[in-house]
Amino acid sequence: MAATLVLKGVDKTFHSRRTSVHALDNVDLTLEDGEFVSVVGASGCGKSTLLRIVAGLEAASGGELTLDGAPLTGPGRDRGMVFQQYTLYPWLCAQDNVEFGLRHLPRAQRCEVARRFLDVVGLLDFAGSYPFQLSGGMQQRVAIARALALRPSILLMDEPFGALDAQTRSLMQELLLSIWERDRLSVLFVTHDIDEAIFLADRICVLSAKPGRVREIIDVHLPRPRQFAQQVEREFLELKQYVRSLIHDEAARNTGFSGVLQ
């Protein structure tokens, strides 16, 4: 099910009429089979761009991307994506939203798969509900079910819990971990929330900004399965402090804050 994602020297420059922005510079990253990797960095460091390139929504300007050895050229069902906003089609009920990506399956099977994954995220009772009738957290759970229903070899998540309140967010993290513990998918998870990045991941990829480069890749040795309570343990806090300092200097340097904050 899971797969190995390899990024080699990935480069991205956005060109507009007057200027060009170097968003990603020579990014090397390997996601082992069944590994959970978080990508963090100051805002504007290109972490979402990186994910969009892996999803095939954006073409890299240079470098190579392979999934289990096969080069990635465009979007595909082998990579399930969860966005932060506008994640569900408002005109479809939860069930139909999940079935939306399953057109290649016969109807009966589509329905069965959709129900199975709605059950995984605990929303089988809401199969017939429309997104506007669901809370933000429930909508994201349906979005996760939809990505999982594709049976992807890797899950790409772009700040999927960024718009949720702190309590819901924390529950969603635990839900995601429990699914991951069971299925052992490879997950590439972009976030700006350092606690979230540490709590979820096997490794954290810290990007520096302008252009986005891999500043450091940090192993997270916290024991699994992870518990909510681990977030106040010494090891967690030290790691958090370390990642924070990495990102903080970057952010200050790149957003013009360093001149003001002496």
């Binding site: 095939g56 929504l57 966005f83 906003q85 005109w91």
Partner: protein, 287 residues
């Protein structure tokens, strides 16, 4: 000063045991606050009655001569007479048929063209300048030309309606399509849809509420131009009826024609709103 006030208020609330802050009391008029259905309808009826009452006041009291502003009674009598002589409904039917045909033909062309222009920049680049040109040319300017081409036939009416409706409609539909949130499209790609499927199954569907609103507004323009075109060169229809009545200084009949057009417009508008509310329940939630 403001700090002091805040403290005072806090102390007051604490001592009085009333959590109410005077500045946050419920106001009668709240921005975007929905009103109850009953309130909505009673306000609508009241405002319509006010217009009617103003008319009645001016006409019955003789403040305005009846030749210029007939009384409601006179208009009602005109309606009864026209109904009995059988000339009312054929005119209404002729106008409704024209507006529906003109509107349907324009929309059937405008929806796919607007979809293409909104989804693909090449179509926008190729089509927007000529469409904009036509949009700024007043449709009524084409009436003499179309009369020479097609006489006073139905075709001539439909051509004018097309010119009047299509060129506005198509640009609005293009905008409806452009306003579709990009994540909807990205998501569809990651779910394995082809570009053609994305246009059909995501962009069209996401733009549909906006498109239905555009259709409703286009229908409104249609009425204006229909009446103009019937006033100028027609042998039946509500505009023709009004124009005939003017010839005989028959003001009750003119007012009757205007009222019928208004009522028909209201019916069409409410039908569109009804369809909208039923088909897109998710749009009524403000986000």
């Amino acid at each position: 000063m403001s700090l002091g006030t805040r403290d005072d208020r806090g102390a007051l609330a604490a001592t009085a045991g009333a959590p109410r802050v005077p500045h946050l009391r419920r106001r009668r008029l709240q921005l975007y606050e929905p009103v109850q259905k009953r309130t909505y309808w009673s306000l609508a009826v009241v405002s319509l009655c006010a217009v009617f009452g103003f008319w009645a006041l001016l006409s019955y009291t003789g403040a305005v001569q009846n030749l210029f502003l007939p009384t409601p009674t006179q208009v009602w009598q005109a309606a009864v007479t026209e109904n009995n002589t059988g000339i009312l409904w054929p005119d209404v039917g002729a106008s409704v048929l024209r507006i529906v045909l003109g509107f349907v033909i324009s929309s059937v062309v405008a929806i796919p063209v607007g979809m293409l222009m909104g989804s693909y920049k090449v179509f926008e680049a190729a089509l927007e300048p000529p469409i904009d040109f036509m949009r700024y040319t007043p449709a009524v300017a084409f009436i003499p030309l179309t009369l020479i081409w097609f006489g006073t036939s139905t075709t001539q009416k439909l051509v004018i309606l097309f010119i009047a409706i299509f060129f506005q409609e198509v640009l609005l539909i293009m905008d409806n399509v452009k306003n579709v949130p990009m994540p909807f499209v990205d998501m569809a790609y990651t779910l394995g849809l082809s570009p053609a499927q994305v246009v059909r199954r995501v962009i069209f569907r996401a733009a549909l509420p906006g498109i239905v609103d555009t259709l409703r507004i286009s229908m409104g323009w249609g009425w204006t131009y229909l009446v103009v075109v019937e006033l100028v060169g027609a042998t039946d229809g509500l505009g023709f009826q009004i124009q005939q009545a003017q010839r005989y200084l028959d003001t009750p009949e003119i007012i009757l024609g205007i009222i019928i057009i208004g009522v028909l417009g209201l019916i069409f508008d409410f039908s569109f709103k009804g369809v909208y509310a039923r088909a897109f329940p998710y749009m009524s939630r403000r986000r």
